[in-house]
């Protein structure tokens, strides 16, 4: 694909452009952050712990997964492995965005900028890079409000959510699974995704029944990826994001 990048505007204009770009994502992420904080409080995390996790990990999917398998004391190794598995997709996103920041960004700007490379940030940056040169000012204007929004919303949710009480009464505990189902469907790419999901569900259910604990996450993930690898061999098409 050939593009004709326009010359970047002044840093102030670029920063403002970035802020405008991120507004819809902020509106969408705000209630999700509040829900995350409230559910984390249900799991026994303090508001400070919620703030540390949101600021340090800054990955909605991985954070929700962590809560789902959270217990006391925290199974830190399982939590770390599952965060790695959930975030493996970032390897592809990072690789595809890397050439687009190779010249305009200083090394520290790349290192800092990729610390906050979520699905949303990646998608918007790729969209921008298709027609314009990516500048640090634009990127900062986009990610700074988005980052603060997530950390503040999650912490606020933890502070207020602690007084919500029993969530199962109103089906609120099902917010988690429902959120994940919405996420799963957003990854849908045709029947092959169905095969992956079926393999994952079967392996996870079997492992959950047989072993309990949190092994079902790893079993399901491995089964799903294995099936994806095997089915990809037969026709070898779409799916490569890194190119």
């Amino acid at each position: 694909m050939t593009v004709s990048p326009k010359f970047p505007a002044s840093p102030a204009d670029e920063f403002r452009d970035g802020m405008i770009t991120i507004v819809p994502m902020i509106i969408a992420a705000l209630p999700i952050g509040l829900i995350f904080g409230a559910l984390a409080a249900q799991k026994g995390l303090s508001p400070l712990e919620v703030m540390l996790m949101s600021a340090g990990v800054f990955a909605g999917g991985a954070q929700f997964v962590a809560l789902e398998i959270w217990s006391h004391p925290a199974p830190w190794l399982t939590l770390t492995v599952s965060a790695l598995l959930v975030n493996l997709r970032h390897v592809l996103m990072s690789a595809s965005l890397a050439p687009k920041v190779a010249r305009g960004f200083r090394p520290w700007q790349r290192a800092l900028g990729f610390f906050v490379l979520t699905d949303e940030v990646w998608a918007l940056a790729e969209q921008r890079a298709a027609t314009r040169v990516l500048t640090p000012a634009w990127y900062a204007g986009m990610v700074i409000p988005f980052y603060l929004n997530w950390v503040i919303a999650a912490t606020a949710g933890a502070i207020t959510g602690a007084v919500l009480g029993d969530t199962t009464r109103f089906g609120l505990d099902f917010a988690f699974p429902a959120l994940f189902i919405a996420l799963i469907m957003s990854f849908w790419k045709g029947p092959r995704t169905g095969t992956v999901l079926a393999a994952s569900a079967l392996a996870a259910t079997g492992t959950y029944m047989a072993l309990g604990g949190a092994w079902y996450v790893i079993a399901g993930a491995l089964a799903g990826v294995l099936v994806a690898y095997v089915t990809a061999a037969e026709t070898d098409e779409s799916g490569a994001q890194g190119q």
Binding site: G56, P177, I181, S200
Partner: protein, 100 residues
């Protein structure tokens, strides 16, 4: 305001591996090209992980939860994420009330 040591360890572990995945592309990109088949398999990771994660709550709890999961999946075909959450929560409450 407390921080449990194991919780802190978990948060640190999660933060480090997450950052590694995000940084990796910067270093990998100039050096290797990911085989397409492997890229396709990696592409399936989020869906496979998320499916596994909800299994106990959605598929191995009871008929009310399984039905609510199906309703949420159908809702997800059309509705934005927040609406799907609302539909899922309402369906879970409803099916639990009906099925006990």
């Amino acid at each position: 305001m407390t921080v449990d040591p194991f919780t802190l360890l978990a948060i640190l572990g999660m933060a480090v591996v997450t950052y590694l995945t995000r940084l990796s592309g910067l270093f990998l990109m100039s050096r290797i090209t990911l085989p397409r088949r492997l890229a396709t398999a990696l592409d399936a990771v989020p869906a496979a992980v998320l499916m596994a994660v909800i299994t106990p709550a959605a598929l191995a709890t009871g008929p009310a939860e399984t039905l609510a999961a199906a309703v949420a999946a159908i809702a997800a075909l059309r509705l934005p994420m927040l609406a799907v959450v609302a539909v899922g929560v309402a369906a879970a409450a409803l099916f639990r009330a009906i099925l006990g």
